[in-house]
Symmetry: C2
Subunit: 185 residues, 2 copies
DNA sequence: GTCTATAATTTGATAGAC
DNA sequence: GTCTATCAAATTATAGAC
């Protein structure tokens, strides 16, 4: 693994626990076995590192989601699939969504980081909207599908927050089970 | 207004924008017109200040909510009332819920702050559960009412997050409108 | 790519005078 | 209650050698 990649991994780990201010160049450097000054070779400023972090997280997350159209063709429920990705982030990693944390502290972030965080949310809403449109066909409209997408993403981010603070993965299950009545409006 | 109160107000303002690390004793001192060292007279450590911040926020929020039983007696919808308090926090203050931000970075908080943040969530869930039980009477059970409470609080925290990051209060309206099908299961 | 050395700033905190 | 003075540590960042 390249040093650059190792730095991003270490930063992601810390940021998903305490946000943008929860990692420093020195800590990351120590973890990957180089000196703090050398981190600046890979990322000129902390803002650059933070932006790359949110960008990479978004790319990986959307890539793991796959194409919503394909899912519908295989007659899989894309919403259930989508919820599963968040469940995995919470249960397997025992951490918040990186962009959920960045989103909450959005107004305090350097501009480039904020923009990439915003992109995560826009792209996820688009993914969900498309999935809902494909699944429901003539039973929905673009506006209704987008509203449902906003609803689902809000609920997932919020239920991850509650699961973390109450230290209970069951909270996530409880909140997400109640998606169904909306999902099958 | 006492200096102590002014310090808490200044801290709350900053914390609701960028979390626990987004305020320092020096900044708070400057804003209320005293020196950094004097802040330690009011709050020995930053952890003490943070804990008091979450505690005061929780007290104020629950006090503003009032008694759910009273609301039901006046045949007001307690859920609508509850959503209105979050709407106000978002629209009037243009900020996240303090405990929402603290909740997201929960695992990085000093212990006392974390405990008071957790208490905010537990007390809000209790309030909602009681409100739902009173309103629905024999149509619900304690478990079902609590699950609904978890769902509503998750959705509200998440939709505040999305509203902040997408810089759109409409997002909050969209997400919360879709509470109704669950509310009237 | 990584290092040493270093700068400038900020931070939480303490001691002791008034 | 507030001040001055001070501290130790941490932070982001740069210059320049290897």
């Amino acid at each position: 693994m390249s040093k650059r990649e190792a730095l991003l991994n270490a930063a992601e780990h810390k940021a998903r626990i305490g946000g943008y201010s929860n990692f420093s160049f020195r800590e990351l450097a120590n973890e990957v076995g180089i000196k703090s000054a050398s981190v600046h070779y890979h990322f000129p400023t902390k803002e650059d590192l933070g932006a790359e972090l949110a960008k990479r997280y978004t790319e990986n997350f959307l890539s793991a989601l796959g194409d919503p159209e394909e899912l519908v063709k295989l007659s899989q429920d894309p919403i259930e699939h989508y919820v599963g990705k968040f469940r995995h982030a919470l249960i397997a990693d025992q951490k918040m969504c990186l962009c959920g944390l960045f989103g909450a502290e959005s107004d305090a972030l350097p501009n480039k980081v904020k923009l990439h965080t915003k992109a995560f949310f826009l792209k996820n809403i688009q993914w969900l909207q498309k999935a809902i449109e494909k699944r429901e066909g003539a039973n929905t409209t673009p506006v209704k599908a987008r509203n449902k997408a906003v609803f689902i993403l809000s609920l997932l981010q919020g239920s991850m927050m509650l699961s973390k603070v109450l230290d209970s993965n069951e909270i996530f299950s409880i909140a997400t089970t109640l998606i169904e009545p909306i999902n099958n409006h």
